[in-house]
């Protein structure tokens, strides 16, 4: 089994600045989310509706994907299909070249991060400029995002100022670490680029089958710039982003902003359907992306991960994510949702991630589309590889526990041998091979008598 996560987590846990930045940021967003979700007295009804709509999308995915394609095409868009990352990147690069461009401006998008579009473009001699403030920070720092919604959550304001000072050629002189000043610097840095870009690349939060419309939810206006100003627009959209009807937005556009940034509504939402005469891009492309999603769809328990609307509420409440940050997960989707998405999207590569959880269930409680993350975590643990020693130990335990007399004898032996530790509550370290068990958990000391013995005594 891969041990990438435990090792990376150990490194992250040794970085006090990172831990303090994460604790501060996730604490802030948790409080905001709880407040605005609490304002709606029908929050639970909205969650149930969203979960059911997404389950319906999964069951009717072929039909809805074809309907989306037909309606978007009728509205003037060109719809492409991509089996995997390489195919999607090749299509996007070809369209960019055909538009006579050697660079694109980008709206923050998880799908394009997942397919590593920026890296692919660079290898092809094309440039992809991130325009979301946090993505810009991460790109300037030559770092990787560590959060779905706030990719630069691992930096504090002073660190961001230093990144701008050292790596942004046109950073204003005397730039301070005031967030407003940093936002102003980003505005100046990107303005020319927005107003002169020929091609933009986006993702989409929702793809409405009934109308062929795409929806992008954002805050800064960089999304509007990319979706409106260039001549050519390329949107990379995972097939799971479909919604059956336009009216379904009444559910998701209440849940998403409140769950993600903790706002009643995000500053800007753009909705577009193919081309519009005299308004926005003249050449509109949509790349429908599989890249492992149909494999996830085939797993009856695991497919609920495809309901995810990328709000990142589960990251912010997760005791593991809060301490390790996103990089330790080693995948573009970190946190609880990443722990169930990554191993399913790339089978065999992230089989340690379902263990990056205490199964406390906080993620399930905040999930706006009610993905039962603990259920999928346990399901993936059962399916994942297990070492021979672990299998033998579990097999032996099963054989003993299935035979009451043997089990009683085993408990008696455990009580006898644990006498020296009685009264301490827990054993922190057992000798080998028990050390494998106590490496990441404490072992309760068996009590003086078992419940069964106590009951028998009481009956007498």
């Amino acid at each position: 089994m891969s041990t990438a996560f435990p090792q990376a987590a150990k490194v992250a846990l040794g970085m006090p600045q990172l831990r303090s930045n994460l604790a501060h940021a996730t604490g802030t967003i948790r409080a905001k989310r709880a407040k605005v979700a609490g304002e709606l007295d029908d929050w639970e009804q909205l969650r149930s509706a969203a979960a059911a709509i997404k389950a319906d999308v999964q069951r009717r995915m072929p039909e809805l994907a074809v309907a989306f394609e037909r309606n978007a095409t009728e509205a003037g868009a060109t719809v492409h299909w991509a089996r995997d990352a390489a195919e999607a990147n090749a299509i996007a690069a070809r369209i960019t070249r055909e538009a006579g461009a050697d660079e694109v401006v980008k709206v923050k998008s998880m799908a394009t991060q997942e397919i590593e579009l920026n890296e692919h473009f660079e290898a092809e001699g094309l440039a992809a400029w991130e325009t979301d403030l946090a993505e810009l920070i991460v790109q300037l720092a030559e770092d990787k995002p560590s959060h779905i919604l706030v990719p630069a959550i691992h930096y504090n304001r002073t660190e961001i100022r230093d990144i701008f000072r050292n790596r942004m050629a046109d950073a204003p002189k005397g730039l301070t670490d005031d967030p407003a000043a940093l936002a102003e610097a980003a505005r100046l840095h990107l303005r020319r680029r927005f107003l002169s870009a020929k091609v933009a690349v986006s993702g989409a939060n929702f793809a409405v089958a009934e109308t062929g419309s795409l929806v992008v939810v954002e805050s800064e206006g960089n999304g509007r710039m990319c979706l409106t100003m260039p001549e050519t627009l390329i949107s990379v959209v995972g097939v799971e982003k479909l919604l059956p009807r336009f009216a379904d937005l009444e559910v998701f556009m209440q849940l998403l902003p409140r769950s993600s940034t903790g706002e009643r509504m995000n500053p800007y939402t753009s909705v577009w359907t193919g081309r519009a005469a005299g308004d926005g891009p003249k050449d509109v492309h949509i790349i429908l992306l599989d890249n492992g999603r149909t494999e996830v769809l085939a797993d009856e328990v695991g497919r609920q991960a495809l309901s995810c609307i990328r709000c990142s509420a589960c990251l912010n409440v997760c005791p593991v994510y809060e301490r390790t940050g996103g990089h330790a997960y080693g995948h573009v989707y970190p946190g609880p949702i990443g722990a169930i998405l990554a191993p399913q999207l790339e089978p065999g590569r992230h089989d340690d991630l379902p263990y990056a959880s205490s199964l406390c269930g906080a993620c399930y409680e905040v999930c706006p589309v009610k993905i039962n993350i603990p259920e999928v975590l346990v399901h993936l643990r059962q399916q994942g590889p297990h070492q021979a020693g672990e299998k033998a130990a579990m097999g032996a335990a099963e054989a003993v526990m299935a035979r009451p007399r043997l089990w009683r004898a085993a408990l008696g032996a455990a009580r006898f041998f644990s006498r020296p530790w009685r009264g301490r509550g827990f054993v922190r370290r057992l000798p080998w091979p028990g050390s494998k068990w106590t490496m990441s958990r404490d072992m309760p000391v068996p009590p003086k008598e078992s419940f069964r013995d106590w009951w028998k005594e009481r009956e007498r």
Binding site: L40, Q45, A52, D56, L195, S219, R224, Y268, A298
Partner: protein, 197 residues
């Protein structure tokens, strides 16, 4: 096999034997309580987003402030063009021309009180998307009859397939320590003028 056919075949294979999903329960609200003052609620939410709120046609001049060159859609009502500013009708103005304007003045399609959201759908008095994006100051006129309480009441009022922009306050970011800061790439100042019926 083309990518399209292969992906559709994979989906069908994945769903082999899976029956239809149960009908979605839609027991959530579709409207606010009948006694809600939606105009008051909208104003409260706009102020919370640090937008400025004004009342009546005459207040448009004040909302435009110092702006000298103001972009307007060609079909903006004449009586809204109040004050001393030069009102420049958008007849396919270049990006550079939009960039040198001080403000833009438009109407809207609908407004949602509970979330403080103003919706544009390229309909009457709204123009194309670029004009409400490039200038740094957006003044938007909202009539009382355009204000609804709840998102579910607003969606049926929109032209679904026209380009839409839903606006909730001025441009903002929470990317630095999750603290909301107003003003990045979209208009940094949003003024809302509310007109009684």
């Amino acid at each position: 096999m083309s990518a399209r056919e292969e992906i559709l075949a994979r989906m069908r294979r994945a769903l082999d034997g899976a029956g239809p999903a149960p009908e979605a329960p839609r027991e959530y609200r579709r409207a606010l309580d009948a006694d809600t003052d939606v105009v008051e609620l909208l104003i409260d939410r706009l102020v919370d987003y640090k937008a400025y709120v004004h009342h009546g046609i005459e207040s448009i001049a004040g909302a435009l402030g110092e702006a000298k060159r103001v972009i307007v859609p060609a079909d903006l009502p004449a009586e809204w063009r109040v004050g001393d500013a030069a009102f420049i009708e958008d007849e396919d103005l270049s990006t550079a021309e939009l960039d040198t304007a001080d403000a833009v003045l438009t109407g809207c399609a609908a407004a949602v009180a509970v979330s403080g959201t103003i919706m544009l759908d390229a309909g009457a008095a709204q123009g194309r998307r670029a004009i409400t994006l490039v200038p740094d100051h957006h003044v938007v006129v909202v009539r009382h009859d355009q204000i609804v309480g709840h998102l579910a009441e607003a969606l049926p009022r929109l032209d679904q397939t026209s380009p839409q922009t839903w606006i909730s306050g001025p441009s903002a970011t929470s990317d630095i320590e999750l603290q909301r800061v107003e003003g990045v790439h979209g208009p940094r100042r949003l003024d809302v003028v509310i007109l009684p019926d």
